[in-house]
Amino acid sequence: MLRTTLLAALLAGSLGVILAHPASAQATADPETDRRALREFYANRFPQVDLADHKDGVYAIDAGAREQWLEMEDFPPYEIAVDEGAELFAAPFANGQGYDHCFADDGAVKQNYPYFDEQRGEVITLELAINDCRSAHGEAPLPYDGQELATLAAYMAFASRGNPVAVDAPASDAARAAYAAGKRFYSTRRGQLNFACTSCHIQLVGNRLRAERLSASLGHVTHWPVYRFKWEEVGGLHKRFAECNSQVGAEPFPEQSDEYRNLEYFLSYLSNGLELNGPATRK
C-alpha cells in the first residue's frame, strides 16, 4: 500500500520537474494579455503553423493525421446529426413559438457564447441558453449529457461556421472572477497522474502521449460539438472536459457545472478571432 503511494508521489514529483515552465506568476493577468501571450507561445512553438489554422485543433500540427481527417470531413458522420438538429431547431414548441424566438440568424450565434450574465452572475453557455429558451416557452429542459441537446448544438455550430469567435471580455469583477476561475482550473494539477490541462496542451504540446499528438489550447473551442469515433456520436465540449479529467485519474465534474462553464469562458476568450468550424470529427 505504502509503496504505491510512494511511487505515485515520486512519479508526480518527477513529472513536475519535467513539466515545470519558466514562467512567472500570472494569476492576475487580464484576458487580453493572456490571449496575446498564448498566441505568442504557439507562434514560437509552431513557427510553420499560421495561428488561424489552430481552428483545426491537433490537425493543424500533425500532417499525417490531417490527411485522414480531411478524408473523413469529405462526408462526415456528423452530417446526420446536423440534419436532425436542423429539424429539431425548426420544430415549434407546444406554444407555437420556436428556438428562432430565442436565437437570431437561424441559430448562427455560437460565436457569442459563452458570455457572462451580469444579472445572474454566471457564465451562460450555448447549451444553457438552449435550455433557458425551452423553459421560457414552457418546455422541459434537456439533459446536458443527452443526444438531443448535442444534436441541436451540432446544427447551431454548423449554422455558425466561418464566424470568428467573438466572446466579450469580462466587464465586471464578477465576470473577471469567472474568467480567473477558468484559468485557475486550466492550470491546476488534478488526479492521481498529477496533470494540469497546461501539462499536455502547453508544456508538452505537439509531443505524443502514447500514440496521440497533444493539441494546442488555441482552437480548443472552435469545433464543438464533435463526432468522436470513440463515442460514436456527437458530444459537447464539457463531455470532453470530463473525459480529460477522468484520464488523469481525477473525478470529473458534471457537464455545465460552474467549474466547466468557467473553463469554457476562459478558453473561448483565448480563441477569440479564430473561425468556428464545428461540428467536426475527432478520433
Binding site: 469529405d74 462526408f75 458522420p77 452530417e79 440534419d83
Partner: protein
C-alpha cells in the same frame, strides 16, 4: 418509414462521382452494453445503387463496415438530370433509401 440515405454527386466528363452516407449502428454482435449483455448484431447486409432505375453497382457488407457507413463510387455514361438511387437492407429486414438528381 425507411431510413434516409444522404447522397452527394457531381457529373464531370460523363462520369458521376457519387458519395453516400447511411445512418446505421452497424453492430457487430460482439459488443456488450454497460450491464454486460451482448448487443445483438445489426448491420446493413446489402446496398444497391441505381442510375435511372438500372442497377449499376451493389455491395454485400459484413458487420465490420464502420458505423454510419460511407460508400462512394463512380458511374459511367452519366449526364446531369440522371437520377441516382441507393437502397439498403439490413440483417433485421429494415431498409433505407435515398435519391439524388445529378447536376
Amino acid at each position: 418509414m425507411a431510413a434516409k440515405v444522404k447522397i452527394r454527386g457531381k457529373v464531370k466528363d460523363g462520369v458521376a462521382n457519387v458519395k453516400s452516407l447511411m445512418s446505421h449502428p452497424m453492430e457487430t454482435g460482439t459488443r456488450r452494453d454497460p450491464e454486460g449483455n451482448l448487443i445483438a448484431a445489426h448491420y446493413i447486409e446489402k446496398v444497391t445503387c441505381f442510375k435511372n432505375d438500372q442497377e449499376v453497382l451493389s455491395a454485400n457488407w459484413g458487420a465490420s463496415v464502420s458505423k454510419n457507413p460511407y460508400f462512394a463510387f463512380k458511374v459511367k455514361n452519366s449526364a446531369p438530370g440522371d437520377v441516382i438511387r441507393i437502397t439498403w437492407t439490413d440483417n433485421l429486414g429494415d431498409t433505407g433509401s435515398g435519391e439524388l438528381v445529378l447536376k
